[in-house]
């Protein structure tokens, strides 16, 4: 590394060997590889914060379940197990299509990458559609969080709030997860809009989004048994 700083700056990302420079190469990285690795570390670190954020909710759910074991089991019968199972399958499939999209980007197969991104987006839409169906069902039956809960049967133990707490956590956790899916859908659209920029030399956004999408799937993999398969 004998290149002077001014040189690096003047040419945007020109390295010392005079190779053709990539327009996405930022000036403070010596090589594209370093830039990619850095972005990846950043993304993984971000995903750690996501896991810990959901972790707080999981712990809260676990402790509430320990407090109202019977109510939680009773309340979970109001969830439609088939809908949850369908969504699990849909999301798992979308994780596979996302892997394929990343692979296509790595190998500069643009059409293939776009196709897989569209399929992933479609899966996300199906997921949100099923979610909409499930939520409206809950709203109709009055299975709502906290003070909005107004369904029968009321809590088996007088004066306790097991049902209302169960649905509070249900809406918070699946809601926060749903927000992540919605954000993911927006990001897929952004990737599709910029699809022409991605090739084997620079596909960082596709790769990073893939990581994000897998973590969102993984959280669902934990949410599904937690809510739908309590016994």
């Amino acid at each position: 590394m004998s290149t002077t700083t001014t040189d690096l700056h003047a040419h945007g990302g020109h390295d010392s060997h005079g190779e053709h420079h990539n327009p996405f190469h930022q000036h403070h990285f010596a090589t594209m590889e370093q830039q990619f690795d850095t972005a990846k570390i950043g993304m993984w670190t971000f995903l750690v914060t996501e896991v810990l954020m959901f972790g707080g909710l999981f712990v809260g759910f676990g402790l509430s379940q320990a407090k109202y074991p019977q109510e939680f089991v009773d309340a979970h019968h109001h969830l439609q197990r088939w809908a949850g199972s369908l969504n699990t399958v849909v999301l798992l499939f979308s994780s596979w299509t996302m892997v394929m999209a990343v692979h296509a980007a790595q190998t500069s197969q643009k059409a293939r990458m776009k196709m897989f991104l569209w399929i992933t987006l479609l899966c996300a839409c199906v997921f949100m559609g099923v979610k909409y169906y499930e939520y409206s069902h809950k709203f109709e039956e009055g299975l709502l969080p906290g003070m909005f809960y107004h369904s029968q049967p009321t809590d088996t133990i007088p004066g306790s709030h097991g049902y209302a707490t169960f649905f509070a956590f249900y809406f918070m956790m699946t809601g926060l997860h749903g927000i992540h899916i919605l954000i993911g859908m927006g990001l897929i659209l952004w990737l599709l809009k910029n699809a022409d920029n991605f090739n084997s030399e620079w596909y960082t956004p596709v790769d990073l989004f893939g990581l994000y999408w897998h973590i969102v799937d993984m959280i669902w993999i934990y949410l599904f048994p937690l809510y739908y398969l309590i016994s």
Binding site: S2, A30, T38, G42, T49, L52, M53, G56, G146, T165
Partner: protein
């Protein structure tokens, strides 16, 4: 003593550049949209010092109210509610808007890439975003406390915060949530920077110890802050929808809130103190002109403090109905904190031993830190001990202890670091005499304010009370006078530093004879930090003569 310090005006072959990061592109818009870590660091510095001023003013007001047992300020009666709001405002501003962002946001943002020999942090735009997130959170926090009259203390304990207090707790917690994001983004940026942007030749154990400290801080920011974020969301949702999570009225568990809160907020104490320790690890070898003693021990102790900080949160709940077994375990784990802390102090002192100590202003602060941190740390052991804790819980002893750690240690180190890097940041030397006077006032004022609080705390003066029994009057009066000296010292610091800006740039590139890479560029640095990509040839803190020098341990 002097010759070591004037090691030439400029480093390298380049003449002093006319353009630097300060005088290039000087429109307000350029500053607002800058992605230069040095400028963002300066903006953070201005922001956090502004809140330090406000928080400090509130502290002076609180001390005035407490000066006599008549609970008046300038003859105006202050009732309990008003007092609650004042200490909430003081605590929340100091913790969330000053101490947590101050060293990482300002000094670290400025020097971390320089120390690594990098041109910027890993994600410059994210860095700017985290600053604006901080500003947004700050505006929201201050308006909810001032307009919404939040009176829960900075800890938001339930059920007080969830059902008793009719104030803007929900918006205040959302503000803290937003500020948490700013902290997360900063930490994330530093982690990626340290991993991937070190200069050629700089391995992990060639990094300055400041970097080790800040890396450990960033790890805590990443791991703990999300839990606080979700806790505060739960609190806000509980308050809005009356869900039973933390509030017994709706079937929740108030101690659960304390567990969640302290799972973040105890590590957060280390988000506050580790950066202070990181600065001291730079000051001591630079002004002792001696290789740091036990480099690896200090590096590992930073990381182990970060890890231990996650398993001691229960010591905040000794009297909150936690099981006896949990109390004993948490008390024992708390003692572990003393080990890495002790390792650090031992190594700093040993570095000074037989060193060629140069007593410049930053070193004065470093020595003040050693004394104040020893007191703050050792009183922490009293509080971590189960039996004494029961007696001292919620007294002024606790108040004095955490002020010794948060303020006596972290803020002392922050001021030392500010003086240390001021010539690099601004290109100007400050008045040594003024700097030393400010340090002396700081040290005297600090002890005068808080030593009486230890005594009255041990005699049973409870914290967060707006009034007290007559027997505590002399201690309170003494403490209040001490707070005036403290205030005076901070205005002296401001005066000394601002006065230096009135003269032309005069700072040499390496005014203190430092060996780390930030001294290998001009003062102030050029926009892209270095003329040539620096390559690490000597390990940090290598003060051997040039002929004997070389890399390798």
């Amino acid at each position: 003593m002097e010759p070591v310090l004037t090691s030439g005006q400029h480093v390298g072959d380049h003449p002093r550049p006319e353009k630097n990061y300060l005088n290039e592109n000087t429109r307000v818009w350029d500053w607002m949209t800058t992605v230069d870590h040095k400028r963002i660091g300066l903006m953070y510095l201005v922001g956090s010092l502004f809140f330090f001023l406000i928080g400090g003013m509130l502290a002076l007001m609180l001390r005035l109210v407490l000066m006599t047992p008549q609970h008046t300020m300038f003859g105006i009666a202050v009732d309990a509610e008003m007092y609650n709001r004042m200490f909430t405002l003081h605590g929340a501003i100091m913790v969330f808007l000053f101490i947590i962002p101050a060293i990482p946001g300002s000094l670290t943002n400025f020097v971390l890439p320089l120390m690594l020999g990098a041109k910027d942090v890993a994600f410059p735009k994210l860095n700017l975003a985290s600053f604006y997130v901080y500003v947004a959170g700050a505006i929201m926090a201050v308006s909810s406390i001032v307009i919404g009259a939040v009176d829960t203390g900075w800890t938001f304990y339930t059920p007080y915060s969830s059902s008793s207090s009719q104030t803007a707790v929900a918006s205040m917690t959302m503000a803290a949530f937003i500020l948490g994001f700013s902290s997360i983004l900063t930490g994330l940026n530093f982690i990626a920077t340290v991993h991937k942007l070190r200069a050629p030749g700089m391995g992990w154990f060639d990094m300055p110890l400041f970097i080790w400290g800040m890396y450990s801080t960033a790890v805590i920011q990443i791991l703990a802050t999300p839990v606080l974020a979700i806790t505060l969301v739960l609190l806000a949702i509980e308050k809005t929808f009356h869900i039973g999570i933390f509030d017994p009225k709706y079937g929740g568990d108030p101690v659960l809130f304390q567990h969640f809160f302290w799972f973040y907020s105890h590590p957060a104490v280390y988000i506050m103190i580790l950066p202070g320790m990181a600065i001291i690890s730079e000051l001591i070898p630079t002004f002792s002109k001696k290789t740091i003693f036990g480099y690896r021990a200090i590096a590992y102790s930073s990381v182990s403090l970060a890890l231990v900080s996650f398993i001691v949160w229960g010591h905040h709940m000794f009297v909150a109905g936690q099981s006896q077994l949990a109390n004993v375990v948490f008390s024992a784990l708390t003692f572990l904190v003393a080990i890495p802390s002790g390792v650090k102090v031992f190594n700093w002192l040993t570095t000074m031993y037989k060193g060629n100590i140069v007593l410049k202003t930053p070193m004065w602060f470093a020595i003040a830190f050693l004394i104040l941190f020893a007191i703050g740390g050792l009183t922490g052991i009293f509080l971590g001990t189960l039996s004494t804790n029961i007696h001292l819980t919620d007294t002024y002893f606790v108040v004095a202890h955490f002020h010794y750690v948060m303020m006596g240690s972290t803020v002392t180190a922050f001021l030392g670091g500010l003086y240390y890097w001021w010539p690099k940041m601004t290109g100007r030397m400050f008045s040594e005499k003024g700097g030393k006077i400010s340090c002396a006032l700081w040290f005297i004022g600090f002890n005068a304010t808080f030593i009486p609080q230890f005594i009255m705390g041990s005699q049973g003066m409870p914290r967060r009370y707006y009034n007290y029994l007559d027997q505590f009057q002399p201690f309170h009066a003494f403490s209040t006078v001490g707070s005036w000296i403290l205030g005076l010292s901070l205005f002296t610091v401001a005066g000394v530093l601002l006065a230096s800006l009135r003269k032309p740039a005069d700072a040499p590139d390496d005014p203190w004879g430092g060996t780390t890479l930030e001294w290998k560029t001009s003062s102030p640095p050029i926009t892209h930090n270095f003329h040539d990509q620096p390559v690490l040839e000597r390990e940090p803190y290598d003060y051997r003569p040039a002929g004997m020098a070389g890399k390798g341990h």
